[in-house]
C-alpha cells in the first residue's frame, strides 16, 4: 500500500545531537531526522590527512553518514606522539550525497630540541602544512553488494601546502613546498566474513612525491618524480552492533633521499599501525592505535641515521 513519504529534512536538523540520532545511538533515544541515513560505522574514521579512512590510509568510503539523498560530514582531531616528535592533525570533511567528499586538515609536526642539534639550533620548532582533499566515489557499494566481490572504488587527491618549507624541508633537500597526491581506493565490507564477524578490507594506491606526507616537503635529492605506493587496511568488527573494531594498516612511502645536503641519511620507510576503534553511535568515534610513522631522524648531526618511531595515536571524530 502506498503511504505518504516522510522525507528527512536536510542539513538544518543535523546538529541536534545524539538525541536526534537514529536507532543505534547508545542512549537509545528516539529516532531521527538528522542526515545520518547510513548504517553505523560505514563512514569510517578520519585518517591523518583528513580523508575518510582508517588512521593512516584513506578508504573509498565517503565521510559522514549521509546517504545519496543527504549531506553529512565530520570534524576530527588526532594526536600522535613518537620519540622526539608530536604530530597533531585536525580538520573537517563534508560528504555530499555519498558521492563526493571535500576535506581540509591542518597538520603540525612538533620537533623536540634534540632533532635540530645538527643545524646548530636549540629550539623546539614545528612544521605545519595544510591539506585540501577531494574524493569521488566511482562505483560499487562497500556495504550492500554482498553477492559480489566488487568493492567500492573511489579516486581522490590531496593537495598539500607546507607552511614551513624554508625552515627545515628545504634544508634537508626537498624540492617543493607543495604537492598533490592522487589515489585510488577500494574498500569492501564482508558481512560475517571471518568466523561470523564483519570484516573490512581496503587497498589504496597513491601516486606521491611527499616526504613524511609532505611535512618534509615534496621530492628530494634522490628522486623528484611520482612514485606509486601501496596502502592497505584490514579490520574486524567485534560485536553485533559494529561498535568495536580492531585492525591494522600499512602505508608505503617514497624515499627521495632527503638529508643528503647535510650528509644525513633519512631513508623514509613505511607507516604501520594497529588500532582499536570505538564507534558508540553516529555522533562520535574514537580510534586508539600504536602507530609507527616510519623513520624520522632523532638528530640532524652529520652521519646520523633515521630511527624508527613508534608511539601512541589517538583520534576523535564528530559526525554531523
Amino acid at each position: 500500500m502506498r503511504t505518504i513519504k516522510l522525507k528527512p529534512p536536510k542539513l538544518s536538523s543535523s546538529l541536534l545531537g545524539c538525541g536526534m540520532a537514529v536507532g543505534l545511538c547508545v542512549t537509545g533515544m528516539p529516532a531521527a531526522l538528522a542526515d545520518e541515513g547510513r548504517l553505523l560505522a560505514t563512514g569510517g574514521a578520519t585518517q591523518i590527512e583528513g580523508s575518510a579512512g582508517g588512521g593512516i590510509v584513506p578508504w573509498a568510503l565517503i565521510s559522514g553518514y549521509g546517504t545519496e539523498d543527504e549531506v553529512g560530514g565530520t570534524a576530527f582531531l588526532t594526536n600522535v606522539d613518537v620519540p622526539h616528535y608530536n604530530l597533531v592533525s585536525g580538520g573537517a570533511a563534508v560528504g555530499l550525497y555519498d558521492r563526493v567528499e571535500l576535506s581540509y586538515a591542518r597538520q603540525r609536526l612538533g620537533l623536540d630540541n634534540t632533532v635540530l642539534s645538527g643545524l646548530g639550533l636549540n629550539t623546539s620548532p614545528a612544521i605545519r602544512q595544510d591539506i585540501f582533499g577531494v574524493k569521488v566515489k566511482l562505483l560499487g557499494d562497500a556495504i550492500f553488494s554482498q553477492d559480489t566481490l566488487m568493492p567500492q572504488v573511489s579516486v581522490g587527491m590531496q593537495y598539500k601546502r607546507n607552511l614551513d618549507f624554508d625552515f627545515i624541508p628545504k634544508t634537508l633537500g626537498a624540492r617543493s613546498a607543495d604537492g598533490t597526491d592522487f589515489y585510488v581506493a577500494a574498500t569492501k565490507l564482508f558481512l560475517g566474513g571471518l568466523d561470523g564477524r564483519n570484516v573490512l578490507l581496503n587497498g589504496t594506491i597513491r601516486m606521491t612525491k611527499a616526504n613524511q606526507m609532505g611535512l618534509l616537503g615534496f621530492g628530494g635529492p634522490g628522486n623528484n618524480t611520482y612514485q606509486a605506493e601501496f596502502e592497505g587496511s584490514a579490520g574486524v568488527f567485534l560485536d553485533r552492533a559494529n561498535t568495536w573494531m580492531i585492525g591494522a594498516e600499512y602505508r608505503q612511502n617514497p624515499d627521495n633521499g632527503l638529508g643528503a645536503p647535510l650528509g644525513v641519511s633519512l631513508h623514509q620507510s613505511a607507516y604501520k599501525d594497529a588500532y582499536v576503534a570505538y564507534i558508540p553511535n553516529k555522533r562520535f568515534a574514537l580510534v586508539a592505535a600504536y602507530a609507527n610513522l616510519g623513520s624520522l631522524p632523532a638528530t640532524t648531526q652529520p652521519g646520523a641515521n633515521s630511527s624508527n618511531n613508534s608511539g601512541m595515536y589517538l583520534s576523535g571524530q564528530f559526525s554531523f
Binding site: T3, K5, P8, F144, L149
Partner: protein
Amino acid sequence: MKKTSAILGGLLILSAAPWVVAADAPSLYDQLGGKPAIQKVVDDMITHVAADPRINTFFANANIPHLKMELVSQICAGTGGPCTYTGQSMSAAHKGMNIDSAQFNALVEDLQLSLADNHVPTGLGNKLLAILAPMKKDIDHK
C-alpha cells in the same frame, strides 16, 4: 620488487573471499533455529518498525500478517530452508514507493534490534544480513 609484491598482496587480499563454506555445513536456516525462530525475529522486527517514525508510515495500511508471512517465507528460502518464496519480486513490491536509502537502512537497524532482542548469535545475524543486503538495489529509489 618489495613494492610490487606488496601491491600484488593487497590485490590478492581484495580478490579472495575470506570465508569458506563446508559442503555439508548445516544451512543458515537450521542454525538460526528454523521457522519458529525466524518468525519470532520477523515479528519483533515489525514491532520495532511500527514504533519507528522514520518508516512506520509505509506500513500504516499494510496487511501485517500477510507481510510477516512473506518475509518469513523469503528469509526461509534465502537461508536454505524448505520454503519457496512466491511473493512479488522486490522491485515490483516496492515500485513507486520512493523508499530512500535512509529508510531502507532504518529497516535494517530495526532488524538488527530484533536480532539482538532474540539473542541471535552475532555471526548468524551477520550472515543473514549478508543474504538480505543485496536486495537494497531492488528496493530503494524505485
